[in-house]
């Protein structure tokens, strides 16, 4: 007689005006929660990508010094690095390459080349090997004056702190959305209890158990929440895809299009189920509590 998508035959909760708009509210809540969740997982995968990209690459910077042969210094530094265990590739950037890198920011490459630019060596670390970066930095600075080994670690650490803060914020938004959803459902369920008090009393007097009455409320509210949750989720996915498209168009190095890991998609698919579960538990708790106050 009663199933998850069935009616509430005795209480006729479907005819309540008070809970009619609940799916819209739930859709908005699920939209926000899903966006927060997608942001959380996208940032997680972005941090992973940055970490992988940065931890596998080092840059050696040789400061410009008037009257010094920078090419000689470059060759010496490259030689030292090539002999260092765990280094896969050493790629000294020519003055032309460096000028090309700076061209988008400073203008024409032929003018940049006349500036006192430091020289750069791009270093790739072998996958799975550990390099004693401290020893490498010390050796470089001793044998090649003006050479600095840049691990990008301080920059990455700051980025990770920022990303983690945003992830924490996303988590807080999800928690807040859950709390607000619970409060809305509590009010709707209490209103339903008050509106149907007379019928509940009759059901009690003819021998209905509290769980029989509570189940009608549970099923009804779970159904309303699912009706609202799916459109909310779909809207959130479309929004994220749109943002992803916009971010992809930037073609700006580290600001890549947000991408979600498989766990993220699974978590997203769980949102409507979790909302329905949260609703069912909340409604049962409220209805059973109210019924206990009746004889």
């Amino acid at each position: 007689m009663i199933n998850i998508f069935g009616n509430s035959p005795e209480l006729q909760l479907e005819k309540d005006a008070s809970s009619k708009y609940l799916p819209i509210v739930i859709a908005a809540m699920v939209f926000l929660a899903a966006l927060a969740l997608m942001g959380l997982f996208s940032l997680h995968s972005a941090v992973q990508n940055w970490s992988t990209a940065v931890s596998g690459n080092l840059t050696v910077e040789i400061a410009y010094e008037e009257g010094q042969d920078l090419d000689k210094k470059m060759n010496k530094a490259s030689q030292i690095l090539r002999n260092f265990p765990g280094i896969e590739e050493v790629n000294p950037l020519s003055i032309d390459d460096a000028a090309k890198l700076l061209e988008p920011y400073l203008g024409r490459a032929d003018i940049i080349k006349q500036l006192p630019l430091p020289r750069l060596i791009e270093v790739t670390i072998s996958e799975g090997s550990s390099v004693d970066l401290l020893a490498a930095a010390k050796k470089l600075s001793t044998e090649v004056p003006g050479a600095i080994l840049n691990t990008h670690r301080p920059w990455l650490d700051k980025m990770i702190v920022l990303a983690r803060s945003v992830q924490f914020l996303a988590g807080a938004i999800m928690l807040l959305v859950s709390i607000v959803t619970v409060i809305i459902i509590v009010f709707a369920a209490r209103t339903g209890m008050v509106m149907h008090h007379a019928i509940i009393e009759v059901l009690h007097l003819i021998g209905a158990r509290d769980s029989y009455i509570a189940q009608q409320f549970q099923n009804y509210f779970a159904r309303l929440c699912l009706i609202g949750a799916f459109p909310g989720l779909i809207c959130a996915i479309f929004t994220m895809e749109f943002l992803s498209f916009l971010a992809g168009r930037l073609e700006a190095g580290l600001i890549s299009a947000p991408s979600m890991i498989v766990e993220g998609w699974i978590a997203l698919a769980m949102v409507p189920i979790l909302v329905a579960l949260l609703t069912t538990i909340t409604v049962r708790w409220i209805v059973m509590g109210s019924l206990k106050r009746m004889m």
């Binding site: 005795e10 059901l203 009690h204 021998g207 158990r209 509290d210 004889m295």
Partner: protein, 232 residues
Amino acid sequence: MVRFENVGMRYGMGPEVLRDINMHLAPGSFHFLTGPTGAGKSSLLKLLALSHRPSRGLLTLFGQEVSSLQREDLPSYRRKIGVVFQEFRLLNHLSALDNVALPLRIMGLEEEQILTNVTELLNWVELGAQMQAKPPTLSGGEKQRVAIARAVINRPQLLIADEPTGSMDPEMGLRLMHLFQELNKLGTTVVIATHDIELIRRFPCPVMYLKQGTLHHTDADEYLKRHQRSGL
């Protein structure tokens, strides 16, 4: 079956509406409950229907002291009690058939069996043609018959009826009283709250009458004589 020992009842912090009620209803007995409006009839029926608990005294139903009953035990006790409410309290959005079927559905009976039993009973109370009608479309007497059918559908051990024949014609009233008598012969204890002196005259049974919150016991003859005297 039912035993009241010095039972008192009040609503919230209000005054006692029932005082020192003592009564014993043996299994299979038939009683009228009467008294002037406001004397406490409805309150006494609420105690019998397990809708309220007494504020003091001992109330024993089916051998169990009510105040010691756990909340989760109440439904199984309520299923042994059939109640006909004065204001019917039918579910307006359900058909007559569904209203009568409700106690059986709550008990989890098979739908086929429910349909057979309900159809039989509704035919008996001459509502066979209106099984799919909803209460707002039924007359007062028809509604009352649906309410009675709902109360007796699961053969209760105790039947409480508040003015059960008040809204129907005398012939149907008599038919229903005979139904109550039949149930009574099968072992159901029946308590009928009524103001109808004719009913008491026609079915001479023990009479309990309430006066200012206290209960008095007598038989039908004595009550009718007293009523005639007070009428004179």
